[in-house]
Amino acid sequence: MTHEFTEKDWNDYLDGRAEAGTEARFERHLSACSECADLRRRLRLAEGQLRLQSGYWQHTPVLADAQIEAAWQRVVTRLRADELAPERSASIPERLRFLEDLLMLLCGTRTATNALRAAAKGLSTDAPEQLSRDHWPQFLTNLAAITTIMCGKTGAQLVWESGKL
């Protein structure tokens, strides 16, 4: 409350959206109260500056078109991965097929096959399709690490999140 007006009244008044009665009360009060008139003057000055600077931010692009396009490609890849994704708690062969499709999408066919083999290496078996559920977490960790190197962090995150059984 500043004199007889609430903060909400003041805000409406500054926006030029106070109701007719309130607007008239403001004008009457401001012509008699130098403290409030001074407040209005300072607020309007600041608002002018704020709008000027906001305009600058609104009209100066921070991102280049190529960055926006790259972001779009990353988002689209994830959207398509969603469509490929089987239901959770799928079997290992199903999850593997999904990861292979995903990796193909992210970094090409040959890389996909190589990555899966490399991630399984040294676990119970070298053949990914023979992995047991016990080995799956380690396999997935390996695969995410390999994906990071071969096709970047975003891809690796995706492999990690969607590979969980």
Partner: protein
């Protein structure tokens, strides 16, 4: 295609093709919002992508299309809080806690900081105040949309905004005063040098 039309088209046809034009508008918007909240540009990009994935997936759940931007920024704030929770491993994080670390970065890491005094002003506000200024003055949301984004009643939006307007007026005046003092000091030095020479 303008942003309004792109939005209309997407809400009518929420497919990948329908989303692309709108993405071109929303991605820079969200990125800018995060920058102005004090996040680094890489993180701002990551979060903006997360938000747009959610927008695409949940577009069908949007009940009031006229409040689209309120919904958009509600998701944006939610994602920022989620990021912060993951980072701090705390269960509940209020936006106030973001303050110290982010404020320190805001003035130094923004790519446009040198050219924009706005970033400096925002850095002197609390995170909740910063949000409301961004939403109102830069993204030009309606009060209904801001109320939805911040999950507070419209009356509270207005009184909070008035409070921030007063605070900003003091910050901006202080800056002008400092600029003037610096200018006067410089002029004084020049005058002295001229007298000597």
């Amino acid at each position: 295609m303008g942003e309004k039309l792109a939005l209309k088209q997407f809400l009518h046809t929420p497919t990948e093709d329908g989303f692309r034009p709108l993405f071109g508008y929303l991605y820079p918007r969200l990125h800018r919002f995060y920058l102005l909240q004090g996040l680094e540009t890489m993180l701002a990009e990551d979060l903006a992508q997360e938000v747009l994935l959610i927008v695409y997936r949940k577009a069908a759940e949007l009940r009031q299309p006229e409040l689209f931007y309120g919904w958009l920024f509600q998701i944006a704030r939610h994602e920022m809080a989620r990021y912060w929770r993951r980072k701090t491993k705390l269960e509940l994080v209020s936006f106030e806690l973001l303050s110290a670390e982010l404020t320190a970065r805001l003035t130094t890491e923004l790519p446009l900081a040198e050219q924009s005094r706005l970033a400096n002003w925002l850095a002197q506000l609390e995170p909740v105040e910063r949000e409301i200024v961004s939403l109102r003055f830069i993204d030009e949301l309606s009060y209904d949309e801001i109320a939805l984004a911040l999950a507070i009643p419209i009356g509270t939006v207005k009184s909070r905004l008035f409070h921030v307007r007063k605070k900003l007026a003091a910050i901006i005046e202080g800056e002008f005063h400092r600029d003037r003092t610096t200018l006067n000091q410089t002029l004084g030095l020049l005058e002295k040098q001229r007298e000597k020479g």
